[in-house]
C-alpha cells in the first residue's frame, strides 16, 4: 500500500529545493557579473 506524502517529508523536500534554487540563482548572477571583471 502506497503511503500518503506527509507534511514533514514534503516540507523537507521543499526546503532542500529552495536552498538549491538559491544556490543556482547565485551561480547565474555570478556568471553574469563575472564578465565585468574580465580584463579585455
Amino acid at each position: 500500500m502506497n503511503q500518503p506524502f506527509s507534511e514533514a517529508d514534503l516540507e523537507r523536500r521543499r526546503s532542500a529545493s529552495r536552498r538549491l534554487g538559491w544556490l543556482l540563482a547565485a551561480a547565474v548572477a555570478a556568471i553574469y557579473l563575472l564578465g565585468l571583471f574580465i580584463k579585455r
Binding site: N2, L10, A16, S17, R18, G21, L24, Y32, R40
Partner: protein, 531 residues
C-alpha cells in the same frame, strides 16, 4: 493531516479562483504546463506567418511585397519567436506536465516560481513584436533587423527595435532560468522512493542536462546584450572598433550561448524519443545508460565548440582546427543516441500510430541535419557554405525536423493522457504526411541553393536561383497550412472524443501511465514506490 490538505496549503490560489484568475494565479504544474504549450502553439503560428511573408517575397526574383529593411525584421523576429517563444516554451510545457507525473512527485518543487516563470513570457513576446505595430503608427522604424544573432556593429547602429529585443531577451532569459532552477530542484528533491538517478526517465534526464546548460549559458547571453545596450546608450565601446572594442567579442559571447542553445532545444526531444520508440516497438529502451552518458557528453561538448559559427570571421589556425575537431566530436555521442533509437525498434512489434510516425520521421530527417552539420564543421568546406542557404536548410532540418517535429511527437504521445480523450488518428496521419512532404519540399531545395551560392538574409536574388526558390515557397505554404490540421486536432481532442484508459498506449511503461487520464488535479497524492 490529510494529503488533500497538504496540497491545498501548497496551492492556496487555485482553490479560490475560477476563470481568468485561475490561470493568472495557478501554481498547479498541469495548468502551467498547459499555459506553456498553448502559448507555444500561438507563437508558432505568429512566427510561421512572419516567415510565410518572407517566402512569398522570395517566390520570384526582384522586390514584390516589401522593402529589404522589413524583410530583415521579419527574418530576425521569426527566429527569435520560434526559438524563445515557441520551441523553448513547448519543451518547458512538456517538463511541467510530465516530470512530476514521471518521477512520482505531487507537483514541481517551487510552484510559485513556476507561475512567475510562465507569466514573464507574454510580456516578453509582446515586447519582441510590438515595434512592428508601433511602426504602423509612425513610431520607430520597426523591429530588430539584425537577424536573431544581434551581431555588432549592426546592432549598435540599429533602431529602437534592437532595444525592445534586448529587453525581451532579458525577460525571456529570466523566465527560462526560473524554469530551469525549478526543474533541477524538482528532479533532485521530489523523486519517489526507489527512483534513483539511474532509474530516472530519459525525458527527465534530457531536461536535467538542458536546465544546467541554460543556467551556464543564458547569463552569458544576458551579459552580451547588456553590454550591447550600454554600447548603444551609455557610451561604452565593448564592441566598437573605433573606441578600442572588438565586434568579434560579441560573436564569441553570443555563440557561447548560441551553440548550447541548439542542444537546449533538442535535448528534451532526445529524452522524449526513447519513450515513444519503446512504447510503439513494445520493447524496453535499448542502452539506457549509454543514452544518459551521451546526454552528459553532448552537454559538456556543447559549451566548447561555439566558434564554428564564425570560422570565416578569422581566427588563428590552431583555433580553427580545435573548433573543427571538437565540433565533429559531438557526432560521436549523437551517433550513440541514433544507434540506441534504432536498436530500440530493432525486431520490435512495431505499430505506426501518429506519435511513432513523427518519431521515425524525426530520426530520418534529423539524421540529415547531423550529416550536413558535419560538413559545416569542416573549416575548409565552411568557407564556401557560410552565410549561404545551405546553413538555413541545415538548421531547419535540425530545429524543425529535430525540434518542432519532436514536439509534435510529444504532443500526439501525451495529448490523450492530458485530456483523457483520443485525438483523430486519421487527421494525425494526414498532418504527418503533409508535414514531412512539404517540409522537404521547402528545405531540400535550399541545400542546392546554398551550394550554388545563394546568400541568406537577402530579399532579392539572381535569376539562376528562381526555380528552387519557387518550389521552396510552395512547400512553405503547404507546410504552414498543414499545421492548421494539427491545431484543429488538438482543439477537437481537448473538447471531446473517445475516452482513453490510464495506460493510453499498449506498450507504454512508466509511472505517468498509472495515473488516470486526465490525471487528478493533485498528481500523486500517495507516494509511488519504484522497484
Amino acid at each position: 493531516m490529510s494529503t488533500a490538505t497538504t496540497h491545498a496549503a501548497e496551492h492556496p490560489a487555485e482553490h479560490y479562483h475560477g476563470g481568468l484568475m485561475r490561470w493568472l494565479t495557478t501554481t498547479n504544474h498541469k495548468d502551467i504546463g498547459t499555459m506553456y504549450l498553448t502559448f507555444s502553439l500561438i507563437m508558432f503560428f505568429v512566427g510561421g506567418l512572419m516567415i510565410l511573408a518572407v517566402r512569398a517575397e522570395l517566390f520570384q526574383p526582384g522586390l514584390q511585397m516589401m522593402q529589404p529593411e522589413f524583410f530583415n525584421q521579419l527574418i530576425g523576429v521569426h527566429a527569435l519567436v520560434m526559438i524563445f517563444a515557441a520551441l523553448m516554451p513547448a519543451a518547458t510545457g512538456f517538463a511541467n506536465w510530465m516530470i512530476p507525473l514521471m518521477i512520482g512527485a505531487p507537483d514541481m518543487a517551487l510552484p510559485r516560481l513556476n507561475n512567475w516563470g510562465f507569466w514573464l513570457l507574454p510580456p516578453a513576446a509582446i515586447l519582441l513584436t510590438l515595434p512592428f505595430t508601433l511602426a504602423l503608427f509612425g513610431i520607430g522604424d520597426g523591429a530588430i533587423a539584425t537577424g536573431w544573432t544581434f551581431y555588432a556593429p549592426l546592432s549598435v547602429q540599429g533602431g529602437m527595435g534592437v532595444d525592445f529585443a534586448i529587453l525581451s531577451v532579458h525577460i525571456l532569459g529570466i523566465s527560462s532560468i526560473m524554469g530551469s532552477i525549478n526543474i533541477i530542484v524538482t528532479i533532485f528533491n521530489m523523486r519517489a522512493p526507489g527512483m534513483t538517478m539511474m532509474k530516472l526517465p530519459l525525458f527527465a534526464w534530457g531536461w536535467l542536462i538542458t536546465a544546467f546548460l541554460l543556467i551556464a549559458t543564458l547569463p552569458v547571453l544576458a551579459g552580451a546584450v547588456t553590454m550591447l545596450l550600454t554600447d548603444r546608450h551609455f557610451g561604452t565601446h565593448f564592441f566598437s572598433a573605433a573606441g578600442g572594442g572588438d565586434p568579434i567579442l560579441f560573436q564569441h559571447l553570443f555563440w557561447f550561448f548560441g551553440h548550447p542553445e541548439v542542444y537546449i532545444l533538442l535535448l528534451p526531444v532526445w529524452g522524449l524519443m526513447p519513450h515513444v520508440l519503446s512504447t510503439f516497438s513494445r520493447k524496453p529502451t535499448y542502452g539506457y545508460k549509454a543514452q544518459v552518458y551521451s546526454f552528459i557528453a553532448i552537454g559538456l561538448l556543447s559549451v566548447i565548440v561555439w566558434a564554428h559559427h564564425f570560422f570565416t570571421a578569422g581566427m588563428p589556425v590552431p583555433a580553427l582546427i580545435y573548433f573543427m575537431f571538437s565540433t565533429m566530436a559531438i557526432s560521436l555521442p549523437l551517433a550513440v543516441l541514433f544507434f540506441c533509437w534504432i536498436a530500440t525498434m530493432w525486431k520490435g512489434a512495431m505499430t505506426f500510430e501518429t506519435p511513432m510516425l513523427f518519431a521515425v520521421g524525426f530520426i530520418v530527417l534529423f539524421g540529415i541535419a547531423g550529416l550536413t552539420g558535419l560538413i559545416l564543421a569542416d573549416v575548409a568546406a565552411d568557407a564556401q557554405y557560410h552565410h549561404s542557404y545551405f546553413v538555413v536548410a541545415h538548421f531547419h532540418y535540425a530545429l524543425f525536423a529535430g525540434g518542432i517535429m519532436g514536439v509534435m511527437t510529444g504532443v500526439y504521445y501525451w495529448l490523450p493522457k492530458w485530456t483523457g480523450h483520443m485525438y483523430s488518428e486519421k487527421l494525425g496521419k494526414l498532418h504527418f504526411w503533409l508535414t514531412v512532404v512539404s517540409f522537404n519540399l521547402t528545405f531540400l531545395p535550399q541545400f542546392f541553393l546554398g551550394l550554388a551560392g545563394m546568400p541568406r538574409r537577402i530579399p532579392d536574388y539572381a535569376l539562376q536561383f528562381a526555380e528552387f526558390n519557387a518550389i521552396s515557397t510552395v512547400g512553405a505554404f503547404i507546410l504552414g497550412l498543414s499545421q492548421l490540421i494539427f491545431a484543429w486536432n488538438i482543439w477537437s481532442c481537448v473538447r471531446g472524443g473517445s475516452k482513453v484508459d490510464n495506460r493510453v498506449w499498449e506498450g507504454a511503461e512508466g509511472l505517468e501511465w498509472e495515473l488516470s487520464s486526465p490525471p487528478p488535479h493533485h498528481s500523486w497524492e500517495t507516494q509511488p514506490v519504484v522497484k
